[in-house]
Symmetry: C2
Subunit: 224 residues, 2 copies
Amino acid sequence: MKLEKTTKHRQKEEKRRFDDACGLAHALELLGERWAMLVLRELAYGPRRFSELKADLQGISANVLTQRLTELESRGLVRKVRLPPPASVQVYEASEWGLEAVPTIAALGRWAARSPLHDPTLRMSHVSVIMSLQTLLSPELADGLDARVGFRFGEADYVTTLHRGRLQVERGEVHDCDVVFTGAPSAIAAVIHGGAPLETIDVEGDMALAKRFRTLFPLPPKIG
Amino acid sequence: MKLEKTTKHRQKEEKRRFDDACGLAHALELLGERWAMLVLRELAYGPRRFSELKADLQGISANVLTQRLTELESRGLVRKVRLPPPASVQVYEASEWGLEAVPTIAALGRWAARSPLHDPTLRMSHVSVIMSLQTLLSPELADGLDARVGFRFGEADYVTTLHRGRLQVERGEVHDCDVVFTGAPSAIAAVIHGGAPLETIDVEGDMALAKRFRTLFPLPPKIG
DNA sequence: CCGTATCCAATAAGATACTG
DNA sequence: CAGTATCTTATTGGATACGG
């Protein structure tokens, strides 16, 4: 005989909980769904529009992106904002608290880079490239070095400031930089993390600084 | 007209990848599936048997647990070990590298505890309770305090050592402790994190120490 | 162009029964 | 105890149609 429907039909509202007071379990309820952490990553350096997110999160479908954004908004990680005229476009931005999770998820990325299964030749978004710089910067190697380094990825520009072994990041027009890297995100990542020749991207400014800069972000050792 | 089957039928082997070189995306391929991080959490303090995992991960089904363990094993985070006779039982243990992810996922838990949606009255496993102590310990509050504190949860015992603002953890028999807490995981968590009266659990040993100990693990402030 | 909503096929998760 | 096998339900992704 069959039990009617199922023993205890879950209500739609309380679907798929872990029912675990552990903070980690709650973290997974907040942003454990597929794509959710990657959406938050894309918002790490400022608000983005729906179509940008869809383009940079290669493979996500519009309906899933809509759902993830709605969920993240209802949970307080993301806000839906309409920019004032004349721009007047709709953007999504991470809340203060949502941004606080970013260093932790970046640390997860650093940990995963030690996996032999990791394939660094795949596509990267510009956000991923900038985040990898912040995450992999070695304070020892950067010790005593001050620099203002610009990035032009085509769809987005960043200015990063190296100071006291930390890399501060701002999105926006490149100006007053000591050196500027121009190229697709994957190409720039290949130069900085993969040891590809500097000539494969455009570099303007202090070439000696450019050469030193690319040595400051050592990949963690692969596991054996 | 319909395209035959689908435009590009994914091979089973390359199912559901993110196709993103970002370390975070790879982390999610390694342990982003439902339950995977919680399985790893359960292995944080030593090997566990299948039935223990199934019991402590309330709500997981046997087939999903089997699948998560198999996947984590094939990815190098977990090893399947048969203990030598006379025990001769099968256990699962985290690899060195797998253990390296634990502080990061614990940090995610700490972040999530600030959510107003977090319900700390739900069930906790003994591993979660011990991990919450390690994660929430305030080095400032614990400054200068040395203590050996035991926990008897019924199904498992731990000895924790407070030294130099850090809490070291070992699973195993309680002995030579300054104070020992005995009770269900949720009851002990309620006393230490929730401010429940000390009398709701068993405390043996230095009562003054017990009273101070429970103040060393402040919850992060709720957002609001 | 900016999204939303809907439908459908393919997977993943869940419940439960069952086997060595 | 340690899982498999099987069936049901939920989620995902892809395509496409729709509203501002």
